[in-house]
């Protein structure tokens, strides 16, 4: 029942590096098809929390997650869970735009190539859709075969989003996606976030409370190992 309302539910979660807790006893829930902003001072564990949601921290030695983290109705630490399928359904965009040294087109279909069903879906159609969704299509449609590195930082970040969107995730995790960008590009990304929430659940880690207020409906505050819903004491 609650699973129809909430995409992600945390219950008494403790995250630690080599025994040192970053977040302890956190419980919260994130609504479906809404934008939830995670705010807090630097080093408070916002990113760690976000990365836990698609188990990106697995490869960090000494990292441990305890408690129940339910994403899309299932405990993600369940031994039976397919972590790759999980990451496909829970996409993540990072702070620093990351494009591969390939063409723009190849960057968009990068993940798609591995997840497409064998009956051969049309890559270029899905690429176009993803680029349109990321508001990038008009800017790159004539130069899809050019190296992605020629794009500006803002465009690269939207390309990274298009790459994530191409594999059709239900949840989008964004780790300070605008902090490496100038204000104009940041605005474009914010517009993009707002347009995406129609079909996606979005969790956004941000430094700027203003940004959180602009785009987010819900606010989660991370500070001093604890997690709380708003209202938040964080300035």
């Amino acid at each position: 029942m609650t699973e129809n309302v909430y995409a992600i539910q945390l219950e008494n979660v403790r995250l630690s590096y080599s025994g040192k807790a970053v977040i302890d006893g956190a419980s919260c829930a994130i609504r479906k098809n809404a934008v939830t902003a995670v705010v807090g001072p630097s080093g408070s564990g916002k990113s760690t929390l976000l990365r836990t949601l698609c188990r990106m921290n697995d490869r960090i030695p000494g990292f441990r997650a305890e408690g129940s983290v339910r994403v899309l109705g299932r405990d993600i630490h369940d031994p039976g869970i397919n972590v790759y399928e999980l990451r496909k359904r829970v996409g993540m965009v990072f702070q620093k735009p990351c494009v591969f040294p390939k063409s723009i087109y190849e960057n968009v279909v990068f993940g798609l190539r591995f997840h497409a069903s064998p009956n051969g879906e049309n890559f270029s159609e899905r690429a176009e859709r993803a680029l349109r969704d990321a508001f990038l299509w008009d800017e790159v449609k004539d130069r899809l075969d050019q190296p992605a590195h020629i794009l500006s930082q803002g465009q690269q970040q939207r390309l990274a989003m298009a790459r994530t969107l191409a594999v059709d995730p239900e949840i989008l995790l964004m780790d300070e996606p605008t902090s490496a960008l100038d204000s104009k590009s940041a605005n474009a990304i914010e517009d993009l976030i707002l347009s995406l929430k129609e079909h996606h659940t979005i969790v956004l880690v941000t430094h700027h409370v203003e940004q959180a207020e602009r785009v987010a409906e819900d606010l989660i505050c991370v500070d001093d190992q604890t997690v709380c819903h708003k209202p938040c004491q964080y300035p």
Partner: protein, 290 residues
């Protein structure tokens, strides 16, 4: 509750790379095991005197001391000779040469580090042995000294590039600070940069040493090949024998059987232990430097 298994995913990629890793580890393990197993017979037959004996005569008695002595002497000599040149040029290149010249020197050194040992050997017999004889007025030029000199030339590029890397690894701020205190560039280098790079420099020298100790062909052609400790023991202008050269000369004859084979493998084991000690020390120092 979310205890990670050691190997979370066991797809084809896991098995393929695992197989490769098993092959590497297995090969290396096998190599070391057989090195030890094959040398057991000679230790059984000769006991400790294999290490301390000074007499080696195939088929009769196996004493490795002259070869161990030769190896130590020749590599020691090579290092003493290579040190001033390698360190001098490393300091000059890293601290005083402009970027482009530095790159050219480095590239040249790395090229030279790859010159095959057999070419040094060819030069050793054709030129070096004669030069050494004439220069020092010896009756013969095939000596421990010649071998040491040849090895010094061989490892010069290796030691130089590694030493240069170690010097470059010292951060620029250190130099700036020293210069701003009114030290000259040379004083900066000697008082600040070199001491800080010391572990790296030592590592470079140790790695060079390891390479020199294992070199076979070049040494084999100029060392004289006689299994004897010179009289007096510090007489470097006498002929001698080192471990790789001994193995190289007798291996074809002993291939695969007999006490002689075991003795040669045991020599190899001794050499490996010596080189391993040196390179481990070298790596340890290099890592400490970083």
């Amino acid at each position: 509750m979310n205890k990670q298994p050691l190997f979370p995913e066991r797809g084809p990629a896991f098995w393929l790379t695992g197989l490769a890793a098993a092959i590497s580890a297995g090969t290396i393990g096998l190599l070391f095991v057989s090195l030890v197993v094959e040398s057991v017979p000679v230790f059984k037959s000769e006991g400790v005197s294999f290490l301390w004996g000074t007499d080696w005569f195939a088929g009769e008695v196996y004493g490795a001391l002259p070869m161990i002595y030769g190896s130590l002497m020749v590599t020691g000599l090579a290092v003493v000779m290579v040190l001033p040149f390698a360190l001098g040029s490393a300091i000059l290149t890293s601290e005083f040469l402009s970027g482009r010249v530095r790159l050219v020197v480095k590239a040249a050194m790395e090229l030279l580090a790859g010159v095959p040992g057999i070419l040094y050997g060819l030069m050793g017999i054709a030129l070096l042995a004669v030069w050494v004889r004439d220069l020092f007025g010896l009756i013969d030029g095939n000596t421990l000294f010649t071998a040491g000199l040849l090895l010094a030339v061989m490892i010069l590029p290796t030691v130089m590039t590694l030493a240069e890397d170690a010097l470059r690894a010292v951060p620029g701020e250190t130099r700036d600070t020293a210069l701003s205190q009114g030290l000259t560039r040379m004083e900066t280098v000697m008082q600040v940069v070199v001491p800080q790079a010391l572990p790296g420099l030592a590592g470079a020298v140790f790695l060079g040493l390891g390479r020199a100790m294992g070199e076979t062909i070049a040494v084999m052609l100029v060392i004289g090949g006689i299994d004897r400790i010179p009289q007096p023991w510090f007489d470097l202008f006498a002929s001698g024998q080192n471990i790789p050269s001994k193995i190289g000369r007798e291996a074809a004859e002993a291939l695969g059987f007999d006490l002689q084979w075991s003795a040669l493998i045991a020599l190899g084991l001794v050499l490996f232990v010596m080189v391993m000690t040196l390179t481990t020390a070298g790596h340890f120092l290099l890592r400490k430097a970083r």
